[in-house]
């Protein structure tokens, strides 16, 4: 359960303050599948980072599983992030000197899990995503689709309740793009909350809940207005 109440984020840029998030109210239930669309610079990434606790609202409240995150100290927010939130980015963000497997393991390493357990869990998830044969490859030896699968494996490893994906298919061709989306949807069907920013109307319309941001203002597209 995620709850945003009047969340605002303003960037002071010279004379005119820029409202990246303008009184955003949103409630997300466990297992929801939401897409976020909107023009470039409208505040989509800002919203995702806010929910992912990478950013703090200037005003308003943000609850994750009934925890008032806006009043937590940084270290507590890191813990909450580690245990509840999985991030997937447009540009993968893998550590270049680590192999695919080692990259997947990083969140477990940060949470002090012993090595053999780490290996086991990471291999299992790589197998699930169909890239276990690439476990020992470095990121530079993998294709874009494979890189994104590694990133997804890493995001899923801690069994988060929320998966936040910021344009996960932005760097992929349409075929591997839809493969990645199908993967994410599969995990959503298993119960993970999925929130995905996308520019692709077709992809966006697959989500039961469609959010739209324009100039920091959030609105939800009603079901009967759905794109067809």
């Amino acid at each position: 359960m995620i709850l945003l109440k009047d969340v605002c984020k303003t960037y002071e840029l010279g004379e005119t303050p820029l409202k990246a998030l303008d009184h955003v109210n949103l409630s997300i239930n466990p297992g929801d599948y939401l897409s976020v669309m909107g023009p470039s610079g409208s505040g989509k990434s800002t919203l995702l980072n806010m929910i992912g606790l990478l950013d703090r609202p200037d005003s308003g409240e943000l609850y994750i599983n009934d925890i008032a995150t806006h009043s937590l100290i940084e270290e507590e927010r890191a813990k909450l992030r580690q245990n509840n939130i999985g991030f997937i980015f447009q540009s993968f963000h893998l550590i270049p000197r680590l192999t695919a497997l080692e990259n997947v393991e990083v969140p477990l390493m940060l949470s002090k899990t012993p090595k053999h357990e780490r290996r086991e869990q990471s291999m299992k998830i790589l197998e699930q995503l169909g890239i276990s044969s690439r476990a020992d490859h470095l990121p530079k030896q993998l294709s874009g689709g494979q890189l994104q699968r590694v990133a997804i494996a890493r995001a899923l490893l801690m069994k988060p309740s929320i998966l936040l994906a910021d344009e996960p298919t932005g760097n992929l061709d349409s075929r591997s793009g839809s493969e990645v989306i199908e993967l994410l949807e599969k995990f959503n069907q298993e119960g993970i909350t999925l929130m995905m920013v996308t520019h692709d109307v077709q992809l966006g319309s697959r989500a039961p809940r469609k959010l739209q941001i324009i100039d920091g203002k959030l609105s939800e597209v009603e079901k009967h207005h759905a794109f067809s």
């Binding site: 990478l54 940084e74 980015f89 550590i95 969140p107 012993p114």
Partner: protein, 402 residues
């Protein structure tokens, strides 16, 4: 993160930046090595002096004429003479049971002439006891006669250098030389031997003490060196001597004592201070290494902004990020310390091999403080850049800005 995780996470970083890693390790190694090596040299010097003293023979007690109050600190080398100490005083104390050997000394310079060659020479009047006490050995001839303290005997023992300068390769024993107004027959030449406590024994001449009294026209003794028959009898002997001399000097306690122990402990504390100071100066190179660590850590933080942002997005706390960078600095410090120690100990072995007479030795306190200093530097100087890393905004860092 567990300790082994920090290790496994950081080692690939070092592998990617081999020159930088090696240079930093080298800088730390040089710092640790120089602290250990220089303090070991200082410790060697201290032991060298200690050895020199003990080669003089243990349990020496020296009487100086004149009274000088000593309360700790260095003993008086030159007392202010109030009343002369004479050979008669020495005869009055030589029966004391704890005295093994006693050598009164009158010293001065005399012009010694052989044929047309002459040299101004420090000439020491003494008794045969001076030879064992100061560990003097004869290259040829014999030592002073037994009656040196009772009558003028015109004989002289020359230092090896004087002998060479006056006689060249010609034999000297049996020849007559002039010293001031008197003629002396050469009866012995000292063996070639280095300096002993700053006194170049090769450059001296020794004559009977009664003859020196005549030559320098004064009965005043320069000092009296006593070899004790058993150790730890300094206090008793000193007390007995003071009593006898006071009786002979109208109740005046006008002599001073220097024991070998007191000189040695004074030298020891001087050398320890010198060693510590030298070590502290060498530790400056560790500070330089520390600045280098800071520099490299800053570069590393800048280069790995993406990674830092990502780690935070994956749930790393600021503390964990800080530990990664401080940990990397400490890993390099460990490697540098180990290499520095190896270098230092091989340096010490080399000195031992090259200069076997010099008792160079590593002191445990120097080794420990070198390593502790290195670690403090590593932690201290990586702290600022690591703190900077821990405070990076994850979103900006991941986008490549800071």
């Amino acid at each position: 993160m567990r300790l082994v995780d920090y290790w496994e996470f950081s080692v690939p970083v070092f592998k990617r930046h081999i020159p930088r890693t090696l240079l930093l390790t080298l800088a730390i190694a040089i710092g640790v090595c120089s602290v250990i090596l220089l303090t070991s040299l200082g410790e060697g010097a201290r032991r060298f002096i200690e050895q020199e003293f003990s080669s003089l023979g243990a349990d020496l007690l020296i009487i100086l004429p004149g009274k000088k109050e000593t309360q700790g600190g260095a003993p008086p080398i030159y007392g202010t003479t109030t009343r002369d100490l004479t050979l008669e005083d020495v005869q009055a104390i030589e029966h004391i049971s704890t005295i093994d050997k006693i050598a009164p000394i009158i010293a001065g310079t005399a012009l010694i002439t052989f044929q047309n060659r002459s040299r101004e020479v420090i000439t020491m009047g003494s008794t045969p006891a001076i030879f064992p006490i100061r560990d003097l050995t004869l290259g040829e001839g014999r030592a002073l006669p037994e009656n040196s303290s009772t009558q003028h005997v015109p004989v002289i023992v020359l230092g090896s250098k004087i002998k060479k300068e006056l006689f060249g390769n010609q034999s000297a024993v049996g020849e007559w030389v002039r010293a001031g107004d008197y003629r002396f027959r050469v009866i012995g030449v000292l063996e070639e031997r280095g300096e002993s406590l700053g006194l170049d024994l090769r450059d001296m001449a020794i004559i009977p003490v009664r003859s020196a009294e005549m030559l320098f026209n004064s009965p005043a003794l320069f000092r009296v060196i006593i070899q004790l028959s058993q150790s730890n009898s300094e206090a008793y002997t000193e007390q007995r001597i003071r009593k006898i001399i006071a009786e002979r000097h109208e109740g005046k306690d006008d002599i001073s004592f220097v024991s070998q122990d007191s000189i040695l402990s004074a030298f020891n504390s001087i050398m320890l201070t010198v060693t510590a100071v030298v070590g502290a100066i060498a530790a400056i190179s560790l500070v330089v290494a520390g600045v280098l660590i800071m520099n490299v850590t800053y570069i590393s933080v800048a280069q790995r902004r993406h990674e830092i942002g990502l780690l935070k997005a994956l749930g790393a706390t600021g503390l964990q990020v800080k530990r990664i960078f401080i940990g990397e600095a400490l890993l390099l410090t460990t490697a540098g310390s180990v290499i520095g120690m190896l270098l230092a100990f091989s340096g010490i072995e080399f000195v031992r091999w090259y200069w076997p007479d010099f008792p160079i030795a590593a002191t445990w306190w120097a080794v420990i403080s070198a390593i502790v200093t290195a670690f403090i530097m590593g932690a201290l100087f990586s702290w600022l850049p690591a703190a900077k890393a821990s405070k990076l905004d994850p979103i900006l860092a991941m986008r490549g800005f800071s």
